[in-house]
Amino acid sequence: MWTGNRVQNQVCELEVEIKNADGLHMRPAMQFVDTASRFQAQITISKAETNVDGKSIMQMSMLAATYGTRLKIKAEGPDAAAAAAALQELVEVKKFGEPTPEEKSKQIS
């Protein structure tokens, strides 16, 4: 059996915070899953005691992570570091292409 992936296993863990005002609702959850699915690494996301599969939209959206929620990202696999970095960028830098609470209140006023 081909076990190439496991030979060069890396583990990468980091923590992120939800910065966009509307939190991890459906569309951001989908973006998250799409990004995670681009990597071979197995992605586990934890919110407090709950651990879910970062490649499952069902599990990710059920986390119901609202603004300010801290999530732990754990990537395991050959491209673990790249995966964790990409997810961190999506959550904290790109903010899913959505406004933060301050930006949102400016838009309204």
Binding site: G23, R27, S56, M58, T66
Partner: protein
């Protein structure tokens, strides 16, 4: 053993294993399967996912002008849910562990997720429960849809238990194997009822939560005479019902012996009894039961049990087959009555907010001239084979009738050019089934050669009651004073204008109403074939004088309840054996 009471809509007794169909718009009951069915059920889930994914890919590709991006985002979310392996695994695990149907596993898994969302305090997230319900609805829709198609491929005798059946579903029934029908929704005039009667299979409707009381394969007794359905009957009950079924079929045979006798009252008034049909192969059945022709051929059924539009030749073959059974006797062909609750394959997804008040029937034909002309062309070609008549449905004003006749004129010109023979003097009439048509019958009579009063729609439109909605169906009554006044107007105006008038609604086959209709002046009734012997028996037992007296009395009454109980009493007095 569980006994359920509903409305008997098609007579007869049947005992059989049940085939259950859930409905995507109602809560799916927890229903168990045999361990051996695990594989089939999990495969059904996979197929439903596959089809739902295909739907969404198709929907995504369609150009959307308004809020296009937003809608596409929603579809993308739904797609990614459907592609989520853990979701699918949760569902198949549930089937394997709990031995439940695919419908229940899908529905309950997704509903659990939805309620999880609904509990989240953040409004933006909690509203997403709606997306999950949408996904559930789509998946269950495919499961149920596939199940409905399975009825067509039924290999052993079964009784169908469903929330409700659409005309499209009943049209595709394999008549050889479907032995009875029980539905939660519906009323005497629902399409399930009409189709069951014309196929001569027992049916009971309005059984409310019947689908929650049965599991696939349960033994079910359908008593279409008393409106009773018994789930998992004990041995005594089965024996009792087997005897009852034998007695009933003997009674039926006795009635059949009056087939050759005329439908004539004791004082010599001759009544014409015609049959209502949906398919050409029912024509023979009408003849066997003693029908003298066809008073209502519902041609739209040609569209309902297939995926493509019928060609002109297919129309022609259906009509010529029907006419050939009756030769010189009349066959009234109603032009397609689609829309409302009957859709063609291509229109099935174009829902209207108020379909019964929407683009249906003649309105639909007048907006789809190619389709309409195709049918008229075929009818006219078949018109030389016998006594065909054309009837336009749902006429509400003179313009519609004139327009429809003008199009018929165009078709005749085309046939002249093609050198195809047809009956130039073909009779053209209308269904009087809207209050508008009933109130203007005297005007319409100048351009229509006959009237056929469609009491089902006339009642529904006059009383503003959806005949299929069990919440209000008790208000639906064709002997309501309002409906009776309209019927009387139509009959009087028709007589004044010397235009033939007949009745083709379910009312014509209700024993209590037959005498009233005769008393109002009706001499032609068009009914489902299995009802012909019974109605003839009634006609042969009464005198016109008695009927006139009943009509006079009834027109003086001011409540539906009073009228229906009076009609029941007088029917019992005159022909006790029918009750």
């Amino acid at each position: 053993m569980e006994i359920k009471k509903g409305i008997a809509v098609s007579p007869g007794i049947s005992i059989g294993k049940c085939f259950v169909i859930d409905a995507e718009d109602y809560r799916i009951p927890r229903r168990l399967i045999e361990p051996s069915q695990r594989l089939t059920e999990t495969q059904r889930v996979r197929n439903a996912f596959k089809e739902a994914i295909e739907d969404l890919i198709r929907l995504q590709a369609e150009p959307k002008e308004i809020e296009g991006q937003k809608i596409k985002d929603i579809f993308a979310v739904h797609l990614s849910y459907l592609r989520d392996r853990t979701l699918r695994k949760n569902i198949t695990d549930k089937i394997n562990a709990e031995l439940v149907t695919a419908e229940f596993a899908v529905s309950s898994t997704l509903r659990d997720i939805a309620s999880h969302f609904a509990k989240v305090k953040d409004v933006y997230i909690s509203e997403r429960a709606a997306d999950i319900y949408d996904i559930e609805h789509r998946l269950v829709g495919h499961l149920v849809g596939a199940k409905r198609q399975d009825i067509a491929a039924l290999k052993e005798e079964a009784v169908i238990v469903a929330r409700e059946l659409s005309p499209t579903q009943t049209a595709s029934f394999n008549k050889e194997y479907v032995k009875g029908i029980a539905t939660g929704a519906g009323g005497r005039t629902s399409h399930t009822a009409i189709v069951a009667r014309s196929l001569g299979i027992p049916a009971v409707v309005a059984l409310e939560d019947i689908t929650e009381s049965v599991n696939a394969g349960d033994t079910v007794i359908i008593d279409g005479n008393r409106g009773i359905v018994i789930v998992n009957p004990d041995d005594n009950t089965i024996t009792q019902y087997l005897e009852y079924a034998v007695e009933y079929s003997e009674l039926e045979h006795r009635l059949d012996t009056i087939r050759e006798k005329p439908a004539e009252t004791r004082d010599g008034a001759r009544v014409t009894l015609l049959g209502n049909i949906e398919f050409p192969d029912e024509a023979q059945g009408v003849l066997q039961k003693g029908g003298e022709g066809i008073g209502l051929y519902r041609t739209e059924f040609l569209y309902l049990n297939r995926n493509t539009e019928p060609t002109e030749q297919e129309h022609y073959e259906a009509y010529s087959k029907t006419v050939s059974v009756f030769k010189s006797r009349p066959v009234v062909l109603r032009t397609v009555d689609l829309g409302a609750d009957k859709y063609t394959q291509s229109r099935r997804y174009m829902r209207e907010p108020n379909p019964f008040l929407g683009l249906r029937s003649i309105r639909y034909c007048l907006q789809n001239l190619t389709m309409f002309k195709t049918q008229l062309h075929a009818i006219m070609r078949a018109s030389v084979l016998g006594d065909l008549k054309i009837m336009f449905p749902l006429i509400t004003n003179l313009q519609e009738l004139m327009q429809a006749k003008m199009i018929l004129g165009d078709v005749m010109e085309d046939l002249d050019e093609e050198g195809v023979p047809y009956n130039r003097k073909i009779k053209v009439g209308i269904m009087v089934e809207t209050p508008a048509a009933a109130l203007t019958a005297s005007m319409l009579a100048r351009d229509a050669e006959f009237f056929s009063i469609g009491t089902n729609d006339l009642t529904q439109y006059t009383l503003a009651v959806d005949r299929g909605n069990e919440l209000v169906s008790t208000l639906y009554s064709s002997v309501d004073p309002a409906v009776l006044r309209l019927i009387r107007t139509v009959i009087q105006d028709a007589h004044k204008a010397q235009v033939d008038v007949s009745i083709c609604g379910e009312m014509a086959s209700e024993p209590e109403s037959v005498m009233l209709l005769l008393g109002l002046g009706i001499r032609t009734l068009s009914i489902a074939a299995p009802m012909i012997p019974e109605v003839k028996q009634i006609i042969r037992s009464v005198t016109i004088e008695e009927c006139n007296k009943i009509a006079r009395k009834v027109l003086g009454m001011n409540s539906e309840r009073q009228i229906s109980s009076y009609l029941r009493d007088s029917a019992r007095k005159i022909l006790p054996e029918a009750f």
